[in-house]
Symmetry: C2
DNA sequence: ATATGGTTTAACCAAATGGTTAACAAATGT
DNA sequence: ACATTTGTTAACCATTTGGTTAAACCATAT
């Protein structure tokens, strides 16, 4: 009987590998650990994915392609700039709360191997920010928002949304607050961040 | 003859270890690689620092205590809130440009081992943000800035300043720009970020 | 029933890795 | 001068780790 995609050994391995690689990174992850997580023999990992490197790349692409369409949709829909900022912040933060290791995993591994981003760019689902940049410029021309380089605004939005998830241990330390309190702050940010950005854009 | 602190074998090792650990992280770094970087035999690493773990902790503390006083000074001087934000952004960005691996190293390793932050907090040079928080609250009460939780503003400042350095490969990919152009953006941010924040705080 | 093909495992292997040892070298004190 | 401590090295060791192999298992087609 042909197994469904969800319980096939191959996707079982991929899921286990996602868990471990996201938690420990390429260097920290062990093939045995992934096999244990998947409940199978280590040799099966190599049977399906040949090497640690290839398994890792499969994981990375899979994880990245979970994130990319999300971003693309948020940037390229027909909402007004203000709505886009509001929705982006709200959706993104609740998405990341479900996948807490995701941003640091991606950012980390791209730091370890910056050339890899070139391979990703060629893929068709890679986020495209041209429309968003145009929208910003139009709003500036119409005098609706203060003048700002679209690139800088984009960086600011990403930074305000993503950074608190990546740097949580450090920020918890600086703020001297508990995990619960920190999570409350994160939830508040779903609205806090867009208010902050929109205020910053006032003329 | 007693060697000076700078060219002693011990600090030679520490410097080599800083270089390698910051580039590769705890998991990715190899003791042999550190020995090569220091131009000495691998056994000497263990002679001075006993184990990889202890060498790593020495590096981490040393790197962190390069950053902490910087932050402390920026937060606890007698400048007005606005000046503080301006100076912080300007100084911090130029500091990080000199130590590009520093933020991701610290954030990464704290993610790998979140309990470690507790050990750091007890040290006397750990950044204290109480004064800064009070200053924010005073400015809000006097109606000088819009109402915002000091914690959120602090997170925003950190995010806007640090994130672009941590996520540079990803952001370069999204923005589809060269390394040179990205570095120009970073330099612009020394003023861009404080303008953005100050505008966001207008009533 | 049995041959066939893909799937799974236990056992194994070579290289890498953190760490140790024992001997040697260079200061230092007497 | 000589003994003692400190610094340094080459060689070595045990374990870990990614990867392989050969045999067993199991579903399906004939």
């Amino acid at each position: 009987m042909k197994k469904t995609k969800d319980d096939s050994t191959e996707s079982n391995i991929l899921n286990a590998a996602k868990t471990i690689f996201q938690r420990k990174g390429m260097d920290g992850a062990r093939m045995q650990e992934i096999a244990d997580e998947a409940g199978i023999n280590k040799a099966l990992l190599h049977y399906y994915y040949r090497s640690k490197q290839l398994l890792f790349e499969a994981v990375f692409k899979s994880v990245f392609s979970l994130l990319a369409p999300q971003l693309n949709k948020a940037l390229n829909n027909d909402d007004s700039l203000m709505d886009k900022i509001k929705n982006f912040t709200k959706n993104y933060i609740s998405f990341i709360i479900k996948h807490p290791y995701l941003p640091s995993f991606i950012i980390n591994e791209l730091n370890r191997n910056p050339e890899f981003v070139q391979k990703l760019i060629t893929e068709k689902h890679f986020p495209n920010i041209e429309k968003f940049k145009n929208q910003i410029n139009e709003n500036i021309e119409k005098g609706k928002i203060t003048s700002i380089k679209p690139e800088q605004l984009f960086i600011n939005i990403m930074a305000l949304n993503i950074f608190p998830f990546i740097a949580s241990p450090l920020l918890k330390g600086f703020l001297k607050i508990s995990d619960e309190d920190y999570n409350k702050l994160l939830e508040e940010r779903a609205t806090e961040v867009s208010n902050f950005i929109i205020n910053a854009l006032k003329v």
